[in-house]
């Protein structure tokens, strides 16, 4: 896809790293959709006064996700392990990505880095990136100028 929808050429996904464990090729004639090129897959939304970055991390818990912010760089990393005590020979099918993962996102200077917060529920990590004051949408009141009032100019 060409043309990132945000301006100033911000590409938060420029540094990607994917380290997944063994991925068994599917023998299904109708395999699971296109393989994700990056892990975890993330979506990015503009929610008015803040941006939202969501990542699909099923099977993780919040204490297993390391989220750090340093300057303009947001890094998330963790490791997803298969259940212990189950030999490889016991698996009939392994489609779920496993292993160490990390992603680095470069925040635009329009984000108030001190106010970044994150929550994790149901396998979805949601990172809220509040916009810096100057970048928030402002409502500009439109007032009627004296010269264009419907009744203007009738008097005198």
């Amino acid at each position: 896809m060409s043309g990132m929808p945000w301006d100033r050429g911000w590409d938060p996904f420029r540094e990607l790293q994917r380290e997944v464990g063994r991925l068994i090729g599917s023998i299904d004639p109708f395999p699971v959709g296109p393989r994700v090129a990056v892990y975890p897959p993330m979506n990015f939304y503009d929610a008015g006064d803040r941006y939202l970055l969501t990542a699909q991390l099923p099977g993780m818990t919040s204490d297993l996700i390391e989220l750090t912010i340093s300057g303009e760089t947001l890094t998330l990393r963790g490791e997803r392990k298969r259940a212990e005590g189950i030999g490889e020979e016991c698996y009939r099918r392994q489609e779920r990505p496993m292993g160490r993962w990390s992603r680095t996102v470069t925040l635009p200077d329009r984000v108030d880095n001190d106010q970044v917060s994150a929550s994790f529920a149901g396998g979805i990590l949601t990172i809220a990136l509040p916009k810096a004051e100057a970048a928030r949408p402002r409502h500009i009141a439109v007032s009627n100028g004296a010269g264009v009032e419907p009744n203007g100019g009738r008097g005198a």
């Binding site: 990132m4 929808p5 945000w6 938060p12 996904f13 299904d28 004639p29 109708f30 699971v32 959709g33 994700v36 990056v38 897959p41 993330m42 979506n43 990015f44 939304y45 503009d46 929610a47 008015g48 941006y51 939202l52 699909q56 991390l57 099923p58 099977g59 993780m60 818990t61 298969r82 189950i86 016991c90 698996y91 009939r92 099918r93 392994q94 489609e95 779920r96 990505p97 529920a121 149901g122 396998g123 979805i124 949601t126």
Partner: protein, 139 residues
């Protein structure tokens, strides 16, 4: 003595859904149906099937057994504030659905399902079929 092998076949055909999906509004993309990735492993008492269903909740997840076809379906409500505008997309939001054909060795009455941190764990116990059955010989 070897344990009888449980067969679970990943269905390759789409199950017939009951209601037809509403046509998308002009300019709106239809919500896709996502085929979740799964693992299947053999445990001491049967098979364990795990499916990644990030964003699914227990209240919107259905696991149905119809004949020998086990279908999981999870409706996804995007937990986003109204008016949030998508700027970059690496995963699609859509309902999860996948079907499996169970072999006869699965004890259908003891199938259990558990959803934790977006992972569905289905336990498919092996039916106890090793009891010796005496076959009468008619004379």
């Amino acid at each position: 003595m070897e344990n009888p092998t449980i067969q679970v076949t990943v269905a390759t055909r789409r199950p017939v859904s009951g209601a037809s999906e509403p046509a998308p509004m002009p300019g709106e993309r239809a919500a896709p149906t996502i085929t979740p990735p799964i693992d299947i492993h053999e445990g001491p008492d049967g098979l364990i099937l795990e499916a990644d269903l990030p964003g699914a909740t227990a209240s919107t997840l259905r696991v149905e057994l119809e004949g020998n076809v086990l279908t999981l379906h999870a409706r996804i409500e995007p937990p986003l504030p109204e008016g949030a505008r998508l700027l970059h997309e690496e995963y699609r939001l859509g309902d999860y659905q996948r079907s499996f054909i169970l072999g006869d060795e699965v004890d259908r009455d003891r199938i259990t399902a558990e959803l934790t941190h977006g992972v569905l764990r289905l336990t498919l116990p092996r039916a106890d079929r090793r009891k010796t059955r005496r076959i009468e010989i008619r004379s």
